[in-house]
Symmetry: C2
Subunit: 324 residues, 2 copies
């Protein structure tokens, strides 16, 4: 687990997750970051390690830590450039350990993008950085939001809503669907995944009466994927595909834009949503929230999403190990 | 209650709602439509009435019915033009009774728009027809989706997603917000309603980084409404405003497009969502589903949404009567 920005809530939720390891039956994990960022917000036991192999034995009695170059003075809630460097070091080191197989996967703590950009970070986010380090083109990864009763994958992500219709292509939908199907097989052990895809317009366009993207873009993608043998249903009316009976019919819902994927998952699973990156050679999960600088250092951060991310990363790693 | 299309599930769910009147403590209601559409799917007691004043006394032992011109032969699941005429007669008669004060409000059963258009109906839907009959401009009504823990109001409704950004104006948002505030006061008895409004873009645009509609259209509307004294918060990130703690902070959420409003309500309250028309001189509610011709005549329709609509219409009518 990379601790993320040392002045954010990453260190606190990592410590709280370790403290709750038994209640949640978490797999052994270690953190990569600056020890002082933990000590600033927590007085529990920390053990420095030099090799990931030491972590499992220490884990029952202390939070194992791999120290990166220190972040200088740390004031929770007050991000600075040294902290951004520390966050980037932690991320890079943690990803390297997962790549090498020394760690079974990586859970990334929240970072402050503005500060990362100021130190020369040139990727839109941690995900794109990790994809590059893994040698995977950003188009070939997908972001999955996973909760206990729903998994969604947005086809487009951090773009203005007005730009979504033009960005949606049959090729992009096909690519995201393939990554999603493969991810469900590899990371969730679902042999024959069932996908559903949302329409873009109200009532999925009512056969062209309220927008034509379903007819011109989504349906050709579904036809192509079905011809390849994929079990995919849609385009479905987005408003009627997330109630309990509808959710039971698919393993993941492909959504066409950010809020279409994020509204249902966060409405249902706000404190336990996990952001999983599909399409990578490594398991990568992240809690679905930010640095929350306003909360940092006040012992009020909820570790729920981080606990869920560690748990899910562990399950995914097990599925991959079993298949290997 | 207008029965809607006689070949749809309207008659069946009306009958089932009456049968469940005690369990749900429903207020007395009567149906307006063709008796044969009920008899085709139900063998419970029906009593014809000539005046709404007779309904309350009969209600405990039979479903009171005001007969409109009959619909000809009725085959559940097979809509036709005579049925569309019957549905329109029922709607018109029911609205007239509510307008005159003979009924405390109207709950409308689902109609088949294609058949209505074929008989010359020129409104986009029942709501616009009712608004016209009530002498209210369509711009001055708003559709509220109401469930037990969430109420949402879409600013734009049945338009293609690509058209939403251009249709959103500060004036339209202000108008919808005013109707919503007034509706919460008049129909829900909330003296000082708290509104929230969603942003259009991911993360509500991140201060202009992902789309500028929040800055240019939504924030000016919020500023104007606050200057008028309205308690309105936003624009909020749409994905984080519908979880339980977030919902507790407002009485209704103003959403900018159909699925932004409908996804959360139907995810949470699929079988109990009520479509309430705000801004009318009468109480008007509708179950949030269609004619479901495929289900008609098979005794499988769930009356949950209809029961919820009758219950809510009753509560709204009480609030209005108390204030009058």
């Amino acid at each position: 687990m990379s601790l993320g920005d040392p002045a954010g809530i990453g260190p606190e939720i990592a410590a709280k997750a370790w403290a709750a390891r038994d209640a949640h039956r978490l797999p052994p994990f270690f953190v990569v970051g600056d020890c002082r960022s933990l000590e600033a917000v927590w007085n529990g036991p920390i053990e420095r390690i030099a090799d990931p192999a030491e972590a499992a034995a220490l884990f029952p009695r202390a939070l194992p830590l791999m120290q990166v170059e220190d972040a200088g003075a740390i004031v929770p809630g007050e991000p600075n450039l040294a902290g951004a460097r520390c966050a980037l070091d932690s991320l890079e080191y943690a990803v390297g350990l997962a790549r090498s197989g020394a760690a079974a996967g990586v859970v990334t703590g929240p970072v402050a993008k503005a500060q990362l950009y100021d130190i020369g970070f040139s990727h839109p986010g941690q995900t794109e950085f990790i994809a590059e380090r893994c040698g995977v083109a950003a188009e070939n990864v997908a972001m999955m939001l996973a909760g206990p009763t729903l998994r969604t994958v947005p086809v487009t992500i951090h773009v203005a809503l007005a730009d979504v219709p033009a960005l949606l292509t049959t090729e992009l939908i096909v690519a995201r669907a393939r990554v999603t199907e493969r991810g469900l097989q590899r990371d969730f052990g679902i042999a024959a995944p069932r996908l559903a895809i949302a329409g873009l317009n109200p009532h999925a366009g009512e056969n062209g009466a309220i927008g034509r993207e379903e007819l011109e873009v989504v349906m050709p993608a579904v036809a192509q994927l079905r011809a390849e043998g994929m079990d995919i249903e849609g385009p479905l009316a987005a408003d009627t595909m997330f109630h309990p009976r509808a959710r039971a019919r698919y393993d993941a819902a492909l959504c066409l834009y950010h809020d279409q994927a994020l509204i249902p998952i966060k409405t249902l699973h706000f404190d336990e949503g996990v952001n999983l990156t599909l399409g990578l050679p490594i398991v990568r999960a992240a809690p679905d929230h930010g640095t929350a600088f306003g909360l940092a250092g006040r012992d009020r951060a909820d570790p729920g999403a981080f606990v869920a991310a560690i748990g899910l990363a562990g399950h995914c790693a097990e599925h991959r190990a079993r298949a290997a």
